[in-house]
Subunit: 336 residues, 2 copies
């Protein structure tokens, strides 16, 4: 490693609206030996997640501090230990954690979790067996609480979180309607993942389509997008509906204020609930959930799809795909 | 009763925005004998409630059908049975129910509840021991679930619902901050009802005042008003906060779309919940709640205030007071 170079993407400026190339600063530094107690990790795959856009904003009211200007951009990754001064980690161990958009990361070991590359392909630890999968699992089951026969609607349904939400809802005996952008994604939801119906928000009137596909109303809505789609679903709630607020990707690049849900008084009319979820609250139960989902994957009940972009230098371009909806499945950047 | 006249206020037109005098049609008809199985009731006091504004709109998505054009305006009242062809009710019985804005009502007995005028003054059955009090009781305790030491914020705090919410929260050991319009109401909340603080939304910056009075954030917010005040409270939620959506009086006279809560993503950041309540879901437990609250009233822990306007013909003027905030306490119209 003595002559190796560590490429890093740092946050150069806080973006206003969509992220521009100039908001990133690509730098290089020499790879150094780990300090006392440290682990040196070579990143193999980086996870690209919508939440990263929120980490770039100077906001006091978030669940995690923002990334500082000139700091390496925060990202979850899987990597391999290449040097260790920490007795808990040995060279060759595979690990996952917040390792950042770079070739090599250094860690005290805190927040670093060992993973087994024989149990599942590495990118899966960034998707269904990682943060997005755990978000889907706990958000749906703990907050949404679907019952057999319920109608469950999920937006961003072809994404890393939404596709798992819909499939778990099917496993639990619910009728599942996915909202996604484009005919290909909608076909994938119904034909590959077994959703009961899919709504293409790019070509269909979502409120009208919900009337057709949810004749008895919506019992659980798992919201990844906010905006007009959230408002449309609010008009179709069943009595006692549960809305899980997981994200609002339609609003993340706003330069105007967030669009609040104008139809929120449906919560009153339908005695419904809208609840936010942050996955880190459930990390103490992550192993349990990953085991259950690994079982579903092995038995073919839970399908996964990764969209893997090659090369760290493609990070800015790949990141943009999240917001144009260009990715098909969990978006992962292959680093090494 | 043979020569008595029944004055009635009927809905003449669906109002756009604030209700105008021409939206009402005052008519008179002769008082008739009750039909087979019917009870004839002379209304003594009418309840004026913000919810009545919603009943005037042609809306499919409500918890109760709208009042029809040329129908007597729906209202809760207390009255006295003046003639009966129903064995369950005798002349002289005092009753409460949806008796309408008129001197005399006829009922099959369904939805009619006998009340005891010796236990409490009659207007109290329209306020703290009636629909507003039950709304406060079940909305706060079942949905808001305040714990001792929690900070509870309530808007419309000097109103029929809000004043009871705040006092019950105090009884349960919470710190209570009320939001109301005007120095007199704010003084009343703190000096008479024992609230810990009051915010005058007409002269104060609500978000700033919440910072001062809720240094550890808001654990429970009971919302009667919606709009900018809901948005301000959303910025001050504590982790795991519960928002009870009871009403949105700031939006009821809108001619533009309802203003959705732009800061709703605080629900995500704070893992908070926003839940609607409709009091009729709890009517099977009304007697239990009324008994508990009657005990608090007798022991001086729960204070009530009624603002009684005299005369059925003052109905349109009195109704407007709800929306200008001119009333002090539960607004009641004395009919006879």
């Amino acid at each position: 490693m003595s002559n190796a170079i560590n490429r890093q993407f740092k946050l150069a400026a806080r973006p206003a609206g969509a992220v521009k190339a100039t908001d990133w600063n690509r730098t290089e530094e020499a790879v150094r030996a780990p300090a006392e107690g440290e682990v040196q990790i070579q990143n193999l795959y980086l996870s690209l997640d919508p939440a990263m856009r929120g980490w770039m904003n100077e906001s006091k009211a978030s669940y995690i501090p923002p990334v500082g200007i000139n700091e390496v951009m925060r990202a979850i990754a899987v990597g391999k230990v290449t040097a260790s001064n920490n007795p808990k980690f040995a060279v060759g161990d595979h690990v996952t954690g917040l390792l950042g958009v770079q070739d090599f990361a250094y860690s005290s070991g805190q927040g670093l979790t060992k993973i087994d590359p024989k149990l599942a392909p590495l990118p899966l630890y960034l998707g269904t067996l990682g943060m997005p999968g755990l978000t889907a699992y706990f958000g749906l089951l703990e907050v949404g609480q679907p019952k057999a026969g319920d109608t469950v609607v999920v937006s961003g349904a072809a994404g890393a979180v939404g596709s798992v939400v819909g499939q778990i809802a099917k496993i639990k005996g619910a009728r599942v309607v996915g909202i996604a952008g484009g005919a290909d994604k909608c076909r994938y939801l119904v034909e590959e993942l077994g959703f009961d119906a899919a709504i293409d928000y790019k070509t269909e009137n979502v409120a009208e389509a919900l009337k057709t596909h949810c004749p008895d109303g919506v019992n659980v809505y798992f919201d990844n997008v906010g905006g007009d789609i959230l408002d449309a679903v609010l008009t179709r709630l069943a009595r006692g509906a549960r809305i899980v607020i997981c994200g609002a990707i339609s609003q993340y690049n706003n330069t105007t204020p967030v669009k609040g849900p104008a139809n929120y008084l449906s919560l009153l009319v339908q005695r419904a609930t809208m609840t936010g979820i942050v996955v880190s609250d459930y990390y103490d139960r992550a192993a349990e959930a990953a085991m259950v989902m690994a079982g579903w994957i092995q038995s073919g009940k839970l399908k996964t799809r990764e969209d893997i972009v090659d090369g760290l230098d493609n990070f800015p371009k790949a990141f943009d795909m999240l917001f144009t909806g260009a990715n098909n499945g969990k978006l992962v950047l292959k680093v090494a």
